[in-house]
């Protein structure tokens, strides 16, 4: 499949890599899921118009053309590219009954990559409102002082 043609020319411009490299590296699904929004520290966006936010494209496609090739591909990719659901299932049944749960008093080395992702994960939809409400409470506290 030649994915390059489905990638907006803006994307390589934003990422400074060849389209094909990029597509291989992160997969189609992340692109339409909006993950390419991630930028680098110290880099300030100066032109509002440049970024076509891919989650907006995703929403519009899902509503108006849910059988679009890009969405079908994304679903397929989600099942294998991002996390291989079948392999995960096989692994879980293989180790069933032999899982040991242990609460550690420090971060285990294997958990470090996960810890680094905390706070970077975007929250979509209504779950986000709980976070907004919490941030809002601070304004109220400030006003009462």
């Amino acid at each position: 499949m030649n994915w390059d043609q489905y990638l907006s020319p803006l994307v390589p411009k934003l990422l400074h890599v060849a389209p094909h490299t990029f597509m291989l590296a992160v997969g189609v699904v992340e692109i339409i899921a909006g993950l390419i929004e991630r930028r680098f520290p110290g880099q300030e966006k100066s032109r509002r118009e440049v970024t076509i936010s891919t989650d907006l494209v995703y929403d519009v496609l899902r509503k108006h053309q849910p059988d679009h090739l890009l969405l079908r591909a994304a679903r397929g990719d989600a099942a294998t590219g991002l996390l291989d659901i079948r392999r995960l299932g096989e692994m879980l049944s293989r180790i069933r009954g032999r899982i040991i749960h242990k609460a550690l008093d420090h971060v285990s080395p294997l958990a470090v990559p996960v810890m680094l992702e905390i706070g970077r994960e975007q929250v979509y939809g209504e779950a986000g409102d709980a976070i907004l409400a919490e941030a809002e409470a601070e304004l109220v506290k400030e006003a009462m002082q």
Binding site: S8, P9, L10, E37, R39, Q43, E44, K45, S46, R48, E49, V50, T51, I52, S53, L56, V57, D59, V60, L61, K63, H64, Q65, H68, I118, G119, R120, E121, Q122, V123, G125, E126, A127, G128, D129, I131, L132, A133, E134, A135, E136, E138, L139, E142
Partner: protein, 246 residues
């Protein structure tokens, strides 16, 4: 500067309960309703304002070979329809960059034209000039103006430099990011400091600029604004200190 003269018309009763979607934003002592869909409503004047619709952005990119799904105009107008149904305003102000480029008005398809015309029926419709659409909007109803003054408020596309009491502007597409419990939420938002307001972009394909960007510091000074973030159910006022950089 164009003025919207005459007393406010009798207000039709809104069809839906409005309370759930609202937050209040004060500007120069006037309380405006901030709707979580990204619009401002001024109850006393029955005026609804939306900024940066960027209609026909999809088709604009298509002419340059970037093939985005072409449903953005319909999606934006559908969201605007729900607001107009809710507030039944006597006037709608589109705060500039209503079209992504000068050829936008001519490219609007027949179905979207009909939708727009239905929305304009029985009310005033003002297209404020933006940097994307500086020319008067032709063939799509409404009147065009560079800026609009109603009472003590001034509606214009690009925020004026320096202090501008009573200004309601768009142009900057503000987006705020907050973190709590290890999770981050990024949403379009209104930005205000009690004297002026920058509205969120309403267009379905419009991008966003973080409120911690320099462009906002020029208008509000550092960390002296409130970001009114658009939630699913209402608008959340967030203190500037909580707003994260990208």
């Amino acid at each position: 500067m164009t003025s919207l003269g005459g007393p406010a018309y009798a207000q039709p009763q809104p069809l839906f309960d409005r309370r759930s979607a609202e937050g209040a934003i004060a500007i120069g002592g006037i309380s405006l309703v901030a709707d979580c869909a990204g619009a401002l409503f001024w109850p006393e004047q029955s005026v609804l304002a939306v900024a940066d619709l960027h209609l026909e952005k999809g088709s604009s990119f298509a002419t340059r070979g970037v093939l985005l799904p072409p449903y953005d105009t319909a999606a934006t107008l559908a969201r605007l329809s729900r607001l107009i149904l809710r507030y039944a305003p006597r006037a709608v102000i589109a705060l500039g960059d209503s079209f992504h480029d000068g050829g936008g008005p001519a490219r609007v398809g027949n179905e979207d034209r009909a939708t727009l015309s239905a929305l304009q029926r029985g009310r005033e419709w003002i297209w404020i000039a933006g940097n994307h659409d500086p020319e008067p909007v032709a063939g799509l109803g409404g009147v065009s103006a560079d800026t609009l003054a109603i009472g003590t408020l001034a509606f214009r596309h690009k925020p004026a430099s320096g202090t501008a009491a009573g200004e309601i502007a768009g142009h900057l597409h503000p987006v705020a990011r907050v973190s709590a419990r290890g999770r981050t939420v990024s949403r379009r938002c209104f930005v205000g400091d009690g004297a002026r307001i920058v509205m969120p972009a309403f267009g379905t394909y419009a991008g966003g600029l973080n409120v911690r960007a320099r462009a906002f510091a020029h208008l509000f000074g550092t960390l002296s604004f409130t970001a009114h973030m658009l939630g699913e159910g209402r608008v959340y006022p967030i203190t500037a200190k909580r707003c994260l950089r990208d």
